[in-house]
């Protein structure tokens, strides 16, 4: 049973999807599962935000999609990262690192005083 959902802002979800796909191409179901596994069920995406996000990223040409045979033998739509998607991911990671670093600093300073 899914626990209380951790709401993910749209921009963060986009970044997470790009990150998952930077390892290897995957289909929508696979992405959702991997997000859940890696985050140890902290992050759960519902299809209502996953698929619009995938199509949005595809439209922005950060993802490329093709129909391929999946591990179960059925055809599934596999998404993979394009070079511009890779660049985008790098940028988002950088700004995420800066943001979380800044947040850390503030927490740190705040607890000291």
């Amino acid at each position: 049973m899914p626990s209380a959902r951790f709401p993910i802002p749209q921009g963060t979800l986009d970044m997470l999807i790009l990150q998952i796909l930077s390892l290897e191409p995957a289909h929508g179901y696979g992405i959702a599962q991997r997000l859940e596994q890696i985050s140890q069920s902290v992050v759960q995406v519902n299809q209502g935000s996953l698929y619009p996000a995938l199509h949005r990223l595809e439209q922005k040409k950060w993802l490329r999609a093709e129909w391929k045979q999946s591990e179960t033998g059925r055809e599934a739509k596999f998404y993979s990262l394009t070079p511009s998607g890779r660049k985008q991911l790098a940028e988002e990671k950088k700004s995420w690192a800066r943001l979380s670093g800044a947040v850390q600093l503030i927490f740190h300073e705040g607890s000291r005083s």
């Binding site: 289909h27 209502g48 698929y51 199509h55 439209q59 999946s70 059925r74 599934a76």
Partner: protein, 900 residues
């Protein structure tokens, strides 16, 4: 754009999405089953997790195509499917807008090409026209904004403001590229011309400053790309070829870039000649280096970041100093103190000139804007018409709209549907309009005057015009859909859902308001057309003041073929007497300047009777051969015509007698005997009034039919006036006379071109080109406008009658007569006509003032024109209203009451 593409492959996208989501659910189900759930339970669980499939699909669709755009496209599709069901409605609406958009696009194409389009040169927005405002104490020739060549040179030194300065003069030369010489339009240019404009050669090189350093030393020409392609078949070896310009050998050094057609859209040169060769290009001209001869237009390229205002202000100190210096130079004319002050008070003005300099622009600017305004009004009318049609259709669709409202559609959504309707109509109309435009532009271009130099106007639709047509189509779509869209669903739901048709008066008031505005617009256009038609007919009735039937004219210019002045005079005299002797002519005479071409030789004059007076404005001058007045049928009011003795040179001044026009006498010699008075050219203290007035003639039109200026004539004499326009009164057929005239000139000199051989009637017509264009087009536009508003009026009145059938039936049943039923309807129509006239007439009068300068012999508030326009409109509108009114009187009371 990508989103729009998605619209067309949305079927594919949908299928893909369904498969994708299906796969997801199935995988979830099988995973849950692996975890131990039974299949039905697993399926239920999976569906629960998904939430709503439809909602996901919707959200993904929003990614493919923004919501409003998607809705709009669905609306458009709905509209496109609904129009074939009411083809007459669609056809009427599309036709209205096609006419409006087509007319506006055609006129805009000309406005764009003549007035707005920047030259195809480097950064045209930095070009300025430099002009001298004030008295230049100089003589000159040419069109407008003229200065002397040395002043252009001085301006080139002002590099604080200018990156470069060029000067140019348009002329016609006799050009021979191997065969017989023929007239060709040429531009005399400073060496800086091409580099300042930033034009590159297509072949060889262009004129540069080395070509323009020493007068007479650089016999070179640059050909235009069009001339090279059409006249020389694009010969690859053209560079280095010898050509003859006015019989002077010159070398072709290059061909200019294909798109470059000079800086005057109305006069495209075939070749460019350096100004240093002006003595060869303009026979008899020796004043290239004279500071007091104004004959060239000067344009500058401002330095980056400098505004025309800054440059203008910055140039004045230098300019003032130059003026002071000029007065001390040897050769500065002796002028009155007063004139000297005017000279010293002169300033330089800089005006942005990204479109170059063109007489056509100057002449056509106002007529074109007037026509553009007229087409805008016409398009507005068409939009109103379509709005009226939509309102009519809207009330027929009331039940459909009511049903949709009842089912939960918002009013905004319905309004958008109606806007989609009108957009579709407008865009279709726009397509037809664009198809209509090129032939219309072609006709329009034919109205423009042209001579040796072609104009650069094209009838093809370029991307700018296409964009314009699209924009006005969209605007027309919004305008014509706005009223119906805002009205959509305004009526209470319940009334529109009621079974019975014809209870609400929905939209009638709005439609009446629309028709009233249409009538006002139409009245403005019809009044304008009446004014222009009266101007044209007035000018045609006035005529040039002499009999034009069986009168033909042609010009020759022997100086351009290498003749000396004396030889040229002798040649003209010989040709004149040959023509006289020919069997196909009655009379022949020569004038040194042609009539009715828009130009003239003009100067102020000094008159000596018992006192010395100078004219307060320029007198139009001409030199004519004996018999000129008799040939043209100009009456001699007093005194005598010139005779052969007047034409012989006497002493240094050459002339000894003059003939003046009646208006000259009226203005300057009132109450004195003109015969025997002495006059002379010039107004300064050094002017010598030494010509004896020997006759007074009736006034004729010189520059054009509107011209009512004072005139003076001198005798043509040998060695003096050496070009000429012949006026020949012919016998028999024009073609025969043309042939014999050509034969006579060819016999005299086979190499001499005959210029503008035509009947004087044709010349009169040419001189009225602008007036004819305004009258014809405004007439056509107002006819269209009238049709549109009559259709509008007819539509709304028919609608009213249908709506009031019951009421009229009851009235008739209760004993009302048929004529009172007619009156019931007509009263409505008359109110609209009267209200329209009350709005339209003051507007027409106010707008009339703006076109006053285009009118002749009629005031903008001309009561006849206004009365005629109002009467025409009222009668026509009355007629359009009479048909539905008559139908009202024939309503059968029984049928009308059984309507429910």
């Amino acid at each position: 754009m990508r989103q729009l593409l998605n619209w067309f492959r949305r079927g594919n996208l949908e299928r893909g999405l369904n498969r994708e989501l299906g796969y997801h659910t199935d995988r979830r189900v099988s995973d849950l089953m692996l975890a131990g759930l039974p299949e039905p339970e697993a399926r239920r669980q999976a569906m629960l997790e998904v939430g709503g499939l439809t909602q996901i699909q919707e959200e993904v669709r929003d990614v493919w195509l923004t919501r409003w755009l998607r809705d709009f496209l669905y609306d458009l599709r709905f509209s496109a499917r609904s129009f074939p069901r009411s083809p007459w409605f669609a056809a009427a609406a599309v036709l209205s807008l096609a006419l409006g958009i087509g007319a506006t696009t055609a006129i805009y194409s000309l406005v764009d090409q003549v007035l707005l389009h920047a030259l195809p040169v480097r950064q045209p927005e930095r070009l300025v026209l430099i002009d001298w405002k004030g008295d230049q104490a100089a003589n000159g020739f040419g069109s407008w904004n003229l200065m002397s060549y040395p002043i252009c040179r001085d301006l080139q030194q002002q590099d604080r403001f200018f990156e470069g300065v060029l000067c140019r003069a348009a002329t016609t030369v006799n050009l021979s590229t191997g065969a017989e010489p023929s007239p060709a339009a040429a531009e005399l240019v400073s060496g800086s011309y091409f580099s300042v404009l930033g034009v590159s050669p297509a072949l060889g090189r262009l004129v540069d400053s080395a070509d323009d350093s020493t007068p007479g030393a650089s016999p070179v020409v640059v050909l235009s790309y069009d001339f090279w392609k059409t006249q020389l078949a694009g010969a690859a070896d053209v560079v280095g070829r010898k050509v003859l310009v006015n019989q002077n050998p010159m070398t072709v050094i290059g061909v200019a870039a294909p798109a470059f057609r000079g800086i005057d859209v109305g006069q495209v040169p075939s070749l460019w000649i350096p100004a240093s060769m002006s003595a060869q290009a303009l026979p008899g001209f020796k004043d290239q280096l004279d500071r007091r001869t104004r004959w060239m237009q000067v344009l500058g390229r401002l330095r980056q970041g400098i505004t025309p205002g800054q440059a203008q202000a910055g140039l004045q100190p230098w300019f003032k100093a130059m003026l002071e210096e000029d007065t001390r130079r040897p050769g500065f004319p002796r002028i009155t103190t007063e004139r000297r002050q005017r000279f010293l008070a002169s300033v330089l003005t800089l005006t942005p000139a990204p479109q170059g300099h063109s007489g056509l622009q100057r002449r056509m600017a106002q007529p074109l804007w007037v026509l553009f305004a007229a087409t805008a009004v016409l398009l507005g009318l068409a939009c109103l018409n379509v709005a009226g049609l939509f309102l009519a259709r809207g009330s027929a669709r009331e039940r459909e709209i009511g049903t949709r409202l009842a089912l939960g559609a918002s009013r905004g959504r319905l309004g958008r549907q109606l806007l989609a309707d009108s957009m579709l109509i407008a865009l279709t109309g726009g397509l037809f309009g664009i198809a209509l435009a090129p032939p219309a532009v072609k006709t329009l271009i034919a109205f423009l005057p042209r001579d040796t130099a072609a104009n650069a106007l094209q009838s093809s639709i370029d991307s700018r015009v296409l964009l314009f047509a699209f924009l006005i189509s969209a605007v027309a779509g919004v305008l014509s859909g706005l009223a119906p869209a805002l009205r959509a669903g305004r009526d209470p739901l319940i009334s529109s859902l009621r079974q019975r048709a014809g209870t609400t008066l929905g939209g009638v008031r709005l439609r009446k308001a629309i028709v009233t505005v249409q009538i006002a617009f139409t009245l403005i256009l019809v009044t304008g057309a009446a004014l222009f038609v009266r101007t044209l007919t007035g000018l045609m009735a006035k005529g040039p003041g002499f009999a034009t039937s069986s009168l033909v004219e042609f010009g020759i210019d022997p100086l351009r073929n290498g003749y000396s002045r004396t030889e040229a005079s002798r040649l003209i005299r010989r040709i004149d007497s040959e023509i006289r002797a020919s069997g196909s002519t009655q009379a022949s005479a020569v004038a040194s300047f042609p009539l009715l071409t828009g130009g003239s030789w003009n100067d102020p004059m000094t008159i000596q009777t018992d006192q010395r007076v100078t004219t307060d404005r320029d007198v139009n001058l001409n030199a004519v051969s004996p018999g000129f007045f008799a040939t043209l049928g100009i009456g001699i009011a007093a005194g005598r015509d010139f005779n052969e003795r007047d034409s012989l040179p006497v002493g240094r001044s050459g002339r000894r007698s003059a003939i003046i026009s009646e208006s000259f006498v009226k203005r300057y010699l009132r109450g004195r005997s003109p015969i025997g008075a002495r006059i002379g050219v010039g107004s300064g203290p050094d002017a010598k009034p030494d010509l004896e007035v020997v006759g007074v003639v009736r006034d004729i039109s010189y520059r054009g039919i509107r011209d009512e200026s004072e005139q003076a004539y001198f005798p043509i004499f040998e060695g003096g006036d050496s070009g000429g326009t012949f006026y020949v009164r012919i016998r028999g057929r024009t073609e025969t006379a043309f042939q014999s005239i050509r034969a006579i000139v060819r016999k005299a000199d086979p190499a001499l071109p005959v210029n503008s051989l035509r009947t004087v009637d044709e010349q009169v017509n040419r001189s009225l080109n602008t007036e004819r264009m305004l009258a014809t087009l405004s007439g056509a536009f107002s006819t269209l406008a009238l049709l549109l508003s009559l259709v509008g009026l007819f539509g709304v009145m028919s609608f009213v009658v249908t709506r009031r059938t019951r009421e009229i039936g009851i009235r008739l049943a209760l004993g009302a007569t048929g004529s009172s039923a007619i009156w019931l309807v007509l009263r409505d129509a008359l109110t609209m006509i009267a209200a329209g006239a009350a709005i339209g007439l003051p507007c027409a009068c106010a707008l009339g003032r703006l076109v006053e300068s285009q009118l002749f012999g009629v005031k903008p508030t001309d009561p006849f024109a206004i009365a005629a326009a109002t009467l025409l409109l009222t009668v026509a509108a009355f007629g359009a209203a009479l048909i539905p009114a008559y139908r009202a009187s024939t309503v059968n009371p029984v049928d009308a009451l059984r309507f429910d």
